[in-house]
Amino acid sequence: MAFNPRNRGPLRTLAALFVIVFGLYGFLGAVSTWGDAQRTPKLGLDLEGGTQLILQPKLVGNQTINEGQITKAVDIIRQRVNGSGISEAEVTTQGGSNIVVSLPGTPDKATIESLKKSSQLRFRAVLVEGSAAPTPVPTSTGTPTGTPTSTATATAAATGKATATAKAAGTATPTAKSGYPPALAAATTPAPTGTATPGATATPGTTATASPTTAPAGKPANASDPAWITPDVQAAYTALNCAKPKDIEAIVDDPAKPMVTCSVDGRAKYILGPAEVLGSEVSNATSGQQQTQGGSTGIWEVRLDFNAAGTKAFGDVTSRLVVLPPPRNQFAIVLDNLVISAPVTQAALTAGNASITGSFTAASSKVLADQIKFGALPMSFTVLTQDDISPTLGGDQLRRGLLAGLIGLILVVGYSLFQYRVLGLVTVSSLVIAASITYAAVTLFGWSYGFRLTMAGVTGLIVSIGITADSFIIYFERVRDEVRDGRALRAAVETGWVRGRRTILISDAVNFLAAIVLYVLAASNVRGFAFTLMLTTIIDIVVVMLFTHPLLSILANTKFFGEGHKWSGLDPERLGARTVTYAGRGRVTIAARRAAAEGNQS
């Protein structure tokens, strides 16, 4: 076939599509050959079976748990096991206190560990920090100190300045110290307004160090007050050895009292004030690379957003701490009794967000963010039993379901050929392309995000045949309408496309909106559904834009379609085009024939 220059644009689009399709399959082939992906979609619990864990809460002493707590725990575990919602795990209770987790496939040890763990996140002010050895190294900060009196005013001014810096510059606060402890800065929203006095942040800490020591009597004034360090606490601190697992086991985390604990890496130990911000007051936690105006810094951070109560509490804590001498200007983030991070307060953070930086990697920052986000699970569990479970739907359900889908597809093909003649083949090939993209996407998401197909998902995909085919039908009907109005086919394809595209886009936009909202707000299986809907909607648009339309444009340039062959499905005569159509080579056929027909009728 001679190259028609009119086809250049459409051909380019088609080439782009084939690059995408082959890219997808190439990637799939690569990760299944050299990686650990499988070549078929992962199946859900109901089709493939999986593993069932029964978790029993660990109760200390005569501790009891009520139904409310267990319901909360179920929600948290559901989040942990199925955070993205697309693995379709099931979490339920058994006998009122045990939690049953059913996971598709075989979970690895880390997954099971993460389910068992309790997680209580609290923010506490650091009173004393020392190296992990049993006797504290006498640092300048180790001695109990009173609140500074004379220096307070001077530092207050400095604080004001520092706060201003943090607010105006946003991310500009530089990390004053290198290494441990990590620096705390206002969460990163690059503000265009600039670079005001970054040096100011480091000042409050240094000016206040040499504070006089007066042993305060009576009740501690606030959570940073060294009066919390009673002799008992001091003794516990002295005795604590972070290298001994037994010592770590024995750590008690009572939110109302000061606590003595270790850092999670065992390198430092702390005396901490009572808990001031609770994990439940963190509304969201995300991980990512630190961003500045200049772009990404390559430093991984965990960003925290607080709710109203948390914003207030966190603002109070940081405003108080920022004027204190080290180490009391640090606050500790305590997760499961251990300090995961004890950043230095560089500014009073009252905007309700914060970021934690440190020696994070991509993975460790994500783990921390997830732990913080999915929040306080007030108890830990033991695994009572772990069983492999069979699929709840027999294999023949899926087989016959797929058979039914296949029969349905054949019927659809037959119907489109019947309705649209050769044009139906365009529908069929578009559906084939859509199906192959869907297959690759589902398999790839199974590998990378743990997406699993359940029976409902399979039927959802079968229904999506209808919605995908509808895009073509809208398009074809539009083209036919244009032909009926007497446009030549090539023009009809273009105008039909412009009009049809609008309808296709708005109706898909509604579906997409449904998918996004349900995915963001709902939980469990509904998220799985939303994910499938999102996937099929995107694929629908991709196929109709990158395949069906260019293909039809090319076909419109062929003789068969362009001149409206009887079997093309776009025959102007059969479509009753009513104005004169110039059919090429001086023939003006339609009007003459129609006029004759009209004459016979009347």
């Binding site: 029969i407 959802g460 009926r484 449904a514 707000l521 009007a591």
Partner: protein, 388 residues
């Protein structure tokens, strides 16, 4: 086949036109009957909620030696004691345990089921344990799903109102959506099928489909009514009716294409598989898609027309259209022999449709034979002033 294309042509040009918008009372009545039936199902019979939502009892039969056909055996053992209850049987392979989940039984029944299972699987009584299980689709999951739905509906109303530049389309679309969901869920309740997480997903699919279909029809309505408002040749209802007719072929094709696969699942589910997830799902989807297509044509558009016709601007348009159509009808009547539609100039479709929608003297769109004509040929009557 050829007649179907012909059918499409006639619908497009307005040669053939179903009066859908004008006969809205009929459709409302049909829907009312359906809705009443559905509410009988919903409120009278009530939804049969599965154990995933309300929890239930669980039996574990351990150390089973013969596990052939465990699923059917477990189901019959429980089914004979508690008829009609939903039973999920799974096999825990590493401990040779058959797990049977049922709706919540009282103590007496639990004991009976235990002994029935013991004899069925030929194990000692102490190998069977019973416990209660909670809902895997707990209240919090439903709560979140409902919150998400409400947000979705708010957002989609806003998006549609912005896109179509009128909140009335949002309202009509939501009415059609509610109509579809109530009927689908109601029929589900009437059939006595159990609501499982899978069927909830099915309902959500319906929700998506129903809105999608309505938006497609409305987009054509928007286009036609804008044209009509410009030309003043058709009233809003007529333009909307024309839009529905013009998209009718598309609606039929789409619903057939969407229904064929679902119908084949339904068929296979019904004849080969028996009750189960597939049958439940495909029934919900079949009914939902059919009702969804019906409602976007017969409910959403007439409701929209009813809403819009009350606007003063639309009233005015109606008057303009009536005047224009009356004029057209007279013209056709006075000069029929000379003009077949082909000779009429101007490619726009409006005037043709106007002819049909007019006074009915030439309802088929065909020119009248001269012999049928009345009135003097060469002296057209001047219409009285009030009608001009």
């Amino acid at each position: 086949m050829s007649s179907f294309a012909q059918f499409g042509n006639e619908l497009y040009t307005g040669k053939r036109s179903f009066d859908i918008v004008g006969r809205q009372k009929t459709w409302y009545a049909v829907s009312l009957v359906l809705l009443i039936l559905a509410s009988i199902g919903l409120f009278g019979r009530g939804l049969n909620v599965g154990l995933e939502f309300k929890g239930g009892s669980e039996f574990r039969v351990s150390s089973v030696t013969n596990v052939d056909n465990f699923e059917a055996r477990g189901k019959t053992a429980v089914g004979t004691l508690a008829t009609g209850s939903d039973v999920v049987v799974t096999f825990l392979s590493n401990t040779n345990t058959v797990r049977i989940q049922t709706e919540r039984f009282d103590n007496a029944l639990t004991a009976k089921v235990e002994s029935a299972l013991a004899s069925e699987f030929k194990v000692a009584d102490n190998k069977i344990s019973a416990s209660t299980i909670g809902a895997s689709w707990g209240a919090s999951v439903s709560q979140k799903a409902i919150t998400a739905l409400i947000w979705f509906l708010i957002l989609v109303s806003l998006v549609l109102a912005l896109y179509f530049r009128t909140w009335k389309m949002s309202l009509a679309a939501l009415i059609a959506l509610a109509h579809d969901l109530v009927i689908t869920v109601g029929i589900y309740a009437l059939a006595g099928f159990e609501v499982t997480p899978a069927s909830v997903i099915g309902f959500l699919t319906i929700l998506g489909y129903s809105l999608y279909d309505t938006v497609v029809v409305f987009d054509k309505v928007r286009e036609n009514t804008l044209l009509a408002a410009g030309s003043g040749r058709l009233s809003f209802s007529q333009a909307a009716n024309q839009a529905v007719n013009q998209t009718l072929v598309r609606s039929i094709n789409t619903s057939v294409v969407a229904l064929l696969p679902v119908a084949s699942i339904l068929f296979i589910g019904f004849f080969l598989l028996g009750p189960g997830t597939l049958l439940d799902l495909s029934l919900a989807l079949f009914v939902g898609i059919a009702v969804g297509t019906y409602s976007s044509i017969f409910i959403a558009t007439p409701v929209l027309a009813d809403l819009r016709e009350r606007e003063p601007a639309m009233q005015q348009l109606k008057k303009r259209a009536e005047r224009y159509q009356a004029g057209q009808a007279r013209q056709t009547a006075s000069a029929p022999a000379a003009s077949g539609p082909d000779v009429q100039d101007g490619p726009d479709i409006q005037d043709r449709a106007a002819v049909t929608a007019g006074t009915g003297t030439s309802a088929t769109g065909r020119p009248l034979h001269p012999s049928v004509q009345t009135g003097p040929r060469n002296q057209p009557k001047r219409p009285p002033k009030s009608k001009r």
